[in-house]
Structures are given as C-alpha cells and as structure tokens.
C-alpha cells in the first residue's frame, strides 16, 4: 500500500474487509433469518418491540457501514438523516394522511437528496475535518427542527404523535407483531440490496476510494460522483430506518435525534465490525441492550459501567464482531478437519 516513506503516507483510516467476508455464509444467514421469523410467536409484545428497534437501529448502522466501511467517509451525523426520515413520515402521516408504508420510499428519496447535497461540500473534507462537518450537521438538526416558522408542520419542541398501524387484511396479530414483520421485510430487502451494491462496480469504486483515494482517481474512478452517491445511499437507508423508528415509537421530537444518537450509531458500527454488514445487527444489539445492562448493574454509574463494557469489547475484539465471526469460522474449520 505505502511505497514512499519520506513523505506522509497514511494507512487508510478504514481498513479493507475482503469481499468474500462481507457477508455471512448462506447457511448461517438462513439460520439467522429463520430465527428472526419465528421468534415473535414465542415472546411477549414488549420483546417484539425491542426486536423491532433492534432491526431499525441495525438498519441505520448498516447505512453507516456502507458509508464508512464501504467508501471510507467518516460520519458522525447520521442522526440528522434519521431525523429527516422520521419527521417526513410523521408529517406525511399526521398532516396528509398518507399510508405509512408509502411514507418509507418518500422518506428514502428525500433523504437521498439531502445526503447527496451534503456530500458535495463534504467532498473536499476528509478524516477529522469530515467528522467535524458531519458533527455540525448532527447538532444543527435538532435546532432546525425547533425553528419557529416550521412549527406548524413539525410541532416544534412538542413534537408529533404518530399513529401505529394495525395489521392489514384483519390478520390476527398485534400491532407490534405486524410492525416487526414489516420492518423485517424492509430490512431484508435493503440488506440484500446493500450486499449487491457493494459487490457491484459501484461498490468496487467505493472501496477503491476508501483504500486510496488518489490512486482511485488516477485509475479513472469518478471520485466526486461516487463519494456523493455513497452519502446519498447511506442517508436514504438511514432515513428509512428513521421512518420505521417514528412508527415504532409513535412519537417524534427534536430531543429524540441528538448527537447522542449519532455517536451511538457510530459505536454500533465499530462494535459490529466496520464494513461487515451482518455485524450491523450485533452493533445495534450492543447499543440497545448494553446500556440497560449497565443500568441494572449500577444506576448511579450506568455511564461508567457502559464505558467499561465498551472498553472490554474493544480490547477483546478491536475489529468488532467480525473478528468473532472469523474466529468462529476458523474454529469450525478446525473441527471439520478433525
């Protein structure tokens, strides 16, 4: 990778994930999918709700994985796109009576545009500067949502209450269960799309940019186009996650979409394994359940316990869940040999 040693040659900030290791093997994938499908029948509504949030955050982390793990662009601003998606859905559902399912693609398109636009000025920034720019976006979003002249639509600081849909065609399942299966279907579709995207020519362009932008440019990759495209796609997926989130929580407010959310999504990506799409759900599980575990250990020090657990994870597996999966694979390989 680096040839010259007397000029600053940085190792890429984001390391490459070999293409074959991008996803789980077919067998494992099917097992996981089966588990996800059958699970709601056996558990209480509350657990189904938590699993739905797991899928939703997993989707948001997946989007970040495409952006950072795929195209090497750092983002601490995903909460902004999540918020735009959530509010798009809320406004469309509550003010214009649009069917909830229709709001998802609309939110996706709106966020794609938003992300694509943001990608333009971000072109000239990288590393820590891009981090700051995305951070700025994340902090600006709650302020923008509170603006007085938008208050009629957004509900201002009070937010908007969203109505949860019933299962269609009179299916005999609770609202929670229906929303879970709906989200599962959406997440599955986007996951398959993402895997194919990263395996396609565009995906290869992303990764070339991630590994060495200057070389990629010299090789003829339209860096500007692909970088903004990555932002757009990532924003769109995050927006759809936001839409689902708005429906699941039944409420949107500026306080729901602060920089804390962006940082959580970032942590989810790192814990899951940067660039490893299946890890997204592991990362999401971490950011949803570990704070609860930390709280049950110590209410006063829940933040500290969370920090300690996070440290433990990054010491044991600095490359995230992907490392665990690789270890598992090696173990399975050894067992098969014996």
């Amino acid at each position: 990778m680096s040839a010259a040693e007397d000029v600053v040659t940085e190792a890429p900030a984001v390391e490459a994930v070999p293409k074959r290791a991008m996803t789980l093997g077919t067998g494992t994938s099917l097992v996981v999918l089966a588990a996800l499908i059958i699970m709601p029948v056996f558990v209480k509504n509350f657990i189904i709700f938590q699993m739905t949030m797991l899928l939703i955050y997993g989707l948001a982390v997946l989007a970040l994985n495409i952006l950072t793990g795929g195209s090497g662009q750092f983002s601490l601003g995903q909460s902004a796109f999540y918020a735009v998606g959530a509010y798009t859905t809320a406004v469309l559902m509550e003010h214009f009576n649009v069917n909830y399912a229709l709001t998802l693609p609309i939110a996706g398109v709106v966020c794609f545009g938003f992300g694509f636009l943001f990608g333009q000025p971000a072109l000239r920034l990288s590393g820590v500067y891009l981090a700051l720019a995305t951070f700025a976006l994340a902090t600006a979003m709650p302020q923008l949502l509170k603006l007085n002249f938008l208050e009629h639509w957004t509900g201002g600081v009070q937010g908007l209450v969203v109505t949860k849909p019933d299962a269609p065609f009179g299916l005999p399942m609770s609202q929670d269960m229906w929303l879970y299966y709906f989200s599962l279907a959406v997440v599955l579709a986007i996951y398959i799309f993402s895997v194919n995207l990263l395996r396609s020519r565009s995906g290869r362009a992303f990764m070339a940019i991630r590994d060495n932008e200057i070389a990629a440019s010299a090789m003829g990759v339209d860096v500007a186009l692909y970088k903004t495209l990555a932002f757009g796609v990532s924003a769109a997926i995050t927006g759809i996650a936001g839409s689902l989130g708005a429906i699941a929580v039944q409420f949107v407010a500026p306080d729901s979409y602060t920089i804390t959310l962006a940082i959580s999504l970032f942590l989810g990506m790192v814990v899951g394994g940067v660039g490893w799409l299946p890890g997204s759900i592991v990362g999401a599980a971490f950011i949803i359940f570990v704070p609860n575990i930390a709280e049950s250990i110590s209410k006063g020090l829940s933040g500290a316990v969370f920090g300690v657990l996070l440290f433990l994870v990054i010491y044991l597996v600095p490359h995230g869940a992907r490392q665990v999966a690789i270890l598992g694979q090696q173990l399975a390989g050894k067992l098969r040999k014996n």
Binding site: T68, R124, A131, L132, F135, T139, Q143, G300, I314
Partner: protein, 292 residues
C-alpha cells in the same frame, strides 16, 4: 455601533473560553494525530479535583499546582493503561475508546460530586476590567493566561528538542523511530501535557460557566471548531480561531434576523466548514501532502 462593539468584546470574552480549550485540542492532536472526545471531561474532572482540594482548605494556587501535576500524571497513566494496547487497533476503534472514556469520566464525576452547579473561585477577581463593564478582570486574566500558554506551546514545539521530537513522532512515526525517538513515550507525554492544559482551561472556564459535570460538553465542540478553523497544527491558529468563533457567534446571534439566535452554533460551524472547503488545513495550518 455601541451594540456592535459590545458584542465584539463579549465575543472575545467568550472566545477566550473556546481558545483555551482549543489549545488543549491542538496539543493532543499534535501528539496523536486524533481528536480526543474525552478531552473536555478530563478537564472537568481536573477542575473538580481542584475544587475539592479547596473545599478541604487548600489555598487556590496550591490547589492549582497540585491539580496540574495530578492531571499531567493522570493523562500519562490513562494513555499507558487504556490506549497503548489499542495502538495497533484501527483508528475508529480508538475513537470508540475516547467515547468510552468520556462516558466513564462524566458518570463518575456525577456520582462523586452530583449535578448541581458549584461556585468556582477566580484568582483575578470579578470587577470590571479597565473600567469596562463588558470584560471583567477574570476574563482579562483568562485571555492573558491563554496568550501565555500559547507562547509557551509555540516555543515548546518550535525550539525544544522534545517538542520537535513529539511533532516528528506524530506525523512521521517510522522516520522518527529511525532517528532514535521513543515514539511511544512521546505519545504518553503528549497526553500528559494535553490533560494539564485542559485542566488550566477548566479552571479558567469554571468561574464563568459554573462547575458541574456537564459543563464542558458545549465548550468542547467550540474548542474543536476553533482548533479546526485555526489549523490543527497551529497553536496560534487555535487561539485566533477561538476568538473568531466567539465573536462571529455573538454577531450572528445579534444581527441575523429570525434564525440567527436559534442557530448560533450551526451557523458558526457552517462558517468553519466553508473556510475548510477553501483552506482545507485551516487558516494557519500546514498543508500536508499525501502521496500514493
């Protein structure tokens, strides 16, 4: 016109807060080439330590010096114990480590000292400075100390062996090792110095914003923004950046109608990003050339 001058002066006073923090940010960046999210929390914790010492009867300057020493050692300790094992890990994992450190320090401070605000003394007094009611003697003192720190850092990085060694270790670690620099300890030293500078910043800021565990949250962002605006490799730029951000923010809040007040921070950040698009290394930063 009077409002304008007043806001500029007030902006410089607030900007001193940001400039202080920005110096600590630049310090850590010079040492490890990353931004440390937990910088603000460490500064806050150091300030609490000094406050606690004063509660126990230790006079101000003694507490100040003890806290500085403690911060320096603590910074090195944190680096050696928590972050040295992560040196080979990817950058993003290190960033996750900073976030974890932030959570630990913030939560611990909240448990030990609770979240109500506490008064923090200033050695400079609070009377109007030179008769101007807009800048108090404390704020003037803050600006003075910041400038002193700046000069000190400038000399350190330009003219002392250790300072040069630290810069080399951060930007070209392999070459630095080849000439015998112990890069690992340079990083530890950088952490120690950054923590100590952060402590100074905290102890200067607390009299104005009042001491409580969440006091540095907002300040850190401004510190980052100021440092980036000024150029992450330039302490001078960091200080100038701090004042610029303070003044610009106040003026934006006063003169941009309608949204200026509600969007002070986003507007300031937007300004900085615009500057970066034109001058990617900040106003006074050094352009780093990257080769394939």
């Amino acid at each position: 016109m009077e409002l304008f001058t007043n806001q500029v002066l007030a902006g410089i006073a607030t900007g001193a807060i940001y400039a202080c923090m920005a110096l600590a940010v630049v310090m850590i960046y010079q040492a490890i080439d990353h931004l440390n999210f937990a910088q603000g929390e460490m500064a806050m914790f150091s300030t609490f330590i000094s406050w606690q010492l004063m509660q126990w009867g230790v006079p101000y300057w003694a507490a100040f010096v003890i806290t500085l020493a403690f911060s320096f050692v603590a910074g090195i300790a944190i680096e050696r114990i928590l972050f040295k094992p992560l040196v080979k890990a990817p950058v993003l994992t290190n960033v996750a480590g900073f976030i974890a450190l932030y959570a630990i320090i913030n939560s611990s401070a909240g448990l030990i000292w609770d979240f109500t605000i506490k008064q923090y003394p200033t050695p400079f007094g609070s009377s109007p400075f030179l008769g101007s009611q807009l800048i108090s003697t404390h704020q003037a003192g803050m600006i003075g100390v910041t400038v002193l720190l700046l000069l000190g850092l400038y000399f350190f990085f330009q003219y002392t062996r250790i300072g040069l060694a630290m810069r080399a270790a951060a930007s070209v670690p392999e070459s630095a090792r080849l000439v015998g620099i112990n890069t690992s300890w340079m990083i530890a030293l950088g952490w120690g110095m950054a923590t100590a500078i952060g402590a100074i910043a905290g102890m200067l800021i607390a009299p104005v914003v009042f001491l409580e565990p969440n006091m540095m949250g907002g300040v850190l962002i401004y510190g980052f923004a100021a440092a980036v605006l000024g150029g992450l490799t330039s302490p001078f730029g960091a200080v100038v950046g701090g004042f610029l951000v303070g003044v610009f923010e106040n003026l934006a809040g006063t003169y941009i109608p309608g949204v200026g007040n509600e969007l002070k921070l986003p507007i300031a950040l937007a300004l900085i990003i615009s500057v970066l698009v034109v001058k990617p290394a900040g106003l006074f930063g050094r352009q780093i050339v990257k080769r394939v």
